[in-house]
């Protein structure tokens, strides 16, 4: 008798299983697509630095949508001052949020990509590459004027999109 019911309702049963299966795969993929749910200390592919994956996905700053930076301590070791790093990270934050439209992004310094300082007149220039969410994304250059202290930072996407460039004139903290 059960078998007869199965035979009669086989299309309905398959349809229900099909819908349930879609729901199951949707919940699995939505976790994968939204954010990588891994937590704890991990190694970053691009910078080679260790970072806390929990911090990338968590509510970690005043603006939780802003990117998380990995491997940028290498810039300081190579002579880029803390203040210049603040300006670089600030422009990258605006680039990631408003040009790339990515939230909770991980921005990595690409290991071995830094060149400089190159002295050109009164400008000291550094160039390096960044990646977003494990993909190489853009070339960043910093030209700081040793006399006026002004700095020009540009972010040139590797895919040929428009370069984001900004010059900052005075940097006296309040």
């Amino acid at each position: 008798m059960l078998y007869e019911y199965l035979i009669k309702g086989r299309v309905v049963i398959v349809a229900l299983l099909f819908l349930l299966s879609i729901g199951l795969w949707y919940s699995i993929f939505s976790g994968v697509v939204a954010t990588d749910r891994n937590t704890g200390m991990q190694s970053d592919n691009l910078s080679g630095a260790s970072y806390n994956k929990t911090a990338v996905n968590s509510d970690r700053s005043i603006n939780p949508l802003a990117p998380y930076f990995v491997g940028f301590e290498h810039l300081r070791e190579s002579g880029i001052t803390n203040e210049n790093q603040l300006y670089i990270k600030d422009l990258i934050t605006n680039y990631v949020l408003y040009e790339k439209e990515k939230v909770y992004a991980k921005v990595s310094y690409v290991d071995g990509s830094l060149t400089g300082p190159k002295i050109n007149g009164l400008d000291m220039t550094y160039v390096f590459t960044i990646g977003i969410n494990d993909s190489k994304d853009a070339e960043v250059s910093l030209a700081s004027n040793v006399v006026t202290k002004s700095k020009t930072i540009s972010i040139k996407p590797l895919n040929g999109e428009k370069t984001l460039k900004k010059t900052f004139t005075v940097a006296e903290p309040n």
Partner: protein, 152 residues
């Protein structure tokens, strides 16, 4: 095999469950996730009442007291996530000279209709005048904020 469970029916069912369902699940997940991200970066505009409430609530987090007689003079939205609001506060007394107008910066990035974030309170300022130290405040807003402060 019984005719009712023909080979075509079984093969078709397996194909639906093993191939089509995961593909549809992935497509739906991608579409809805991108819509969620889109909604996060482009929330609905806030009313002036909501902004004023956000400022008043945010002042508590700065350990600052609202004078109780605070009003919103104007607001301007930047990059959908940010607002420059001009707040008028009374210091006490009734004369107009006791009124103080100052700009504040409010963020709308909590994906929560009841939650705004007061980033720079009225009378406050950014530590560096031309950047927000990776908070993502648009430069146009920072320029306008500094201009309003200088005009005071």
């Amino acid at each position: 095999m019984n005719n009712s469970f023909s080979r075509n029916f079984v093969v078709g069912s397996v194909f639906l469950l093993v191939i089509v369902a995961p593909v549809l699940g992935f497509i739906l997940a991608s579409v809805f996730t991108s819509q969620t991200e889109e909604a996060t970066l482009h929330p609905e505009p806030r009313s002036n009442e909501q902004l004023l409430t956000g400022v008043e609530q945010g002042l508590k987090e700065f350990d600052m007291q609202s004078s109780g007689d605070m009003s919103l003079v104007s607001s301007k939205r930047f990059n959908d996530l940010w607002y420059l609001v001009i707040i008028k506060q009374k210091d006490g007394g009734n004369s107009a000279s006791n009124e103080e107008t100052s700009p504040a910066i409010v963020g709308d990035f909590r994906n929560n209709p009841d939650k705004l974030t007061l980033v720079v309170p009225p009378g406050g300022s950014l530590q560096y005048p031309d950047i927000s130290e990776s908070m993502g405040i648009p430069y146009e807003l920072i320029t306008r904020f500094n201009s309003v402060k200088e005009d005071k």
